[in-house]
Amino acid sequence: MKPSFRQLLADSHVAAIAIVMLLVGSVTWGLQPLLWIPASEAIGDWYNYAAADFTDVGHFFRQLGLPYWQAMIPFFPLAISFGIGTWILSHNVYGVGPFRVLIALREKLTRKRDA
C-alpha cells in the first residue's frame, strides 16, 4: 500500500526540518527588536564612548523610547506569521504542536541511537 503524502512528509523528516527552520525564523524576527538591535546599538555606543570613559548607563538605552518601538512594529507581524505557518504545518503533518513534534522526534532519535 502506497503511503500517503502526509505519512511521507513525516517519515522523511522533511516536515520536521521545515518546522525547525520556521521556528528559528519566528524567534529570530521576534527577538531582533527585543534583544539583538538594542544590544548591538548599546555595544556600538559603548565601544565609541569607552575611550572617553563615558559610563552613564542610561545613555546606552536612550534609544528605547516610543519612536524606537514604533519603528520596530513591522518585525512582529512577520514573527507571528512564521509562528502560525509552523503551527499549521506541524498540525497538518503530525497532528500536534511544533514543540511536541520536536520533543517526540528527539526521543525517537535518542532511542534509535541507544538501541
Binding site: 523528516h13 521545515a18 520556521l22 506569521s81
Partner: protein
C-alpha cells in the same frame, strides 16, 4: 545513475534537509507576501507626519512578488519531493 544519486540523497538525509529548507523558504515567503502589505501600511502611517503626500490606501498587490516566489518555490519543492520520495522501488524504505 540517477537512481543511485536518489538513493544517496535519501539515505544520507541530504535530500530531506534540502527539501525541508526549500519548504520552509516557500512557507516563509508566503508569510512574507501576506504580511508585507500590513507592514508597509504600518510604516507609511508612522512616517505620514514627515511627508506632504496624501495617505495611501492599503493594497494587497504589494505582496504579489513574494507570493509568486512562494508559489514557484512550492512547485519546485513538489517536483523534487515527488522525484525523491514518491517514485520509489516497491519494498524500499524511506528511512
Amino acid at each position: 545513475m540517477l537512481e543511485r544519486v536518489k538513493e544517496l540523497l535519501v539515505e544520507s538525509f541530504v535530500g530531506a534537509i534540502a527539501l525541508g529548507l526549500l519548504l520552509s523558504n516557500a512557507i516563509a515567503r508566503l508569510a512574507n507576501g501576506l504580511t508585507l502589505p500590513i507592514t508597509n501600511w504600518l510604516v507609511r502611517t508612522q512616517f505620514q507626519q514627515f511627508t506632504y503626500r496624501p495617505p495611501q490606501s492599503f493594497s494587497f498587490r504589494e505582496g504579489g512578488p513574494e507570493l509568486i516566489r512562494a508559489f514557484v518555490l512550492f512547485v519546485i519543492w513538489c517536483a523534487l519531493f515527488y522525484w525523491l520520495y514518491f517514485k520509489r522501488v516497491p519494498g524500499e524504505r524511506v528511512t
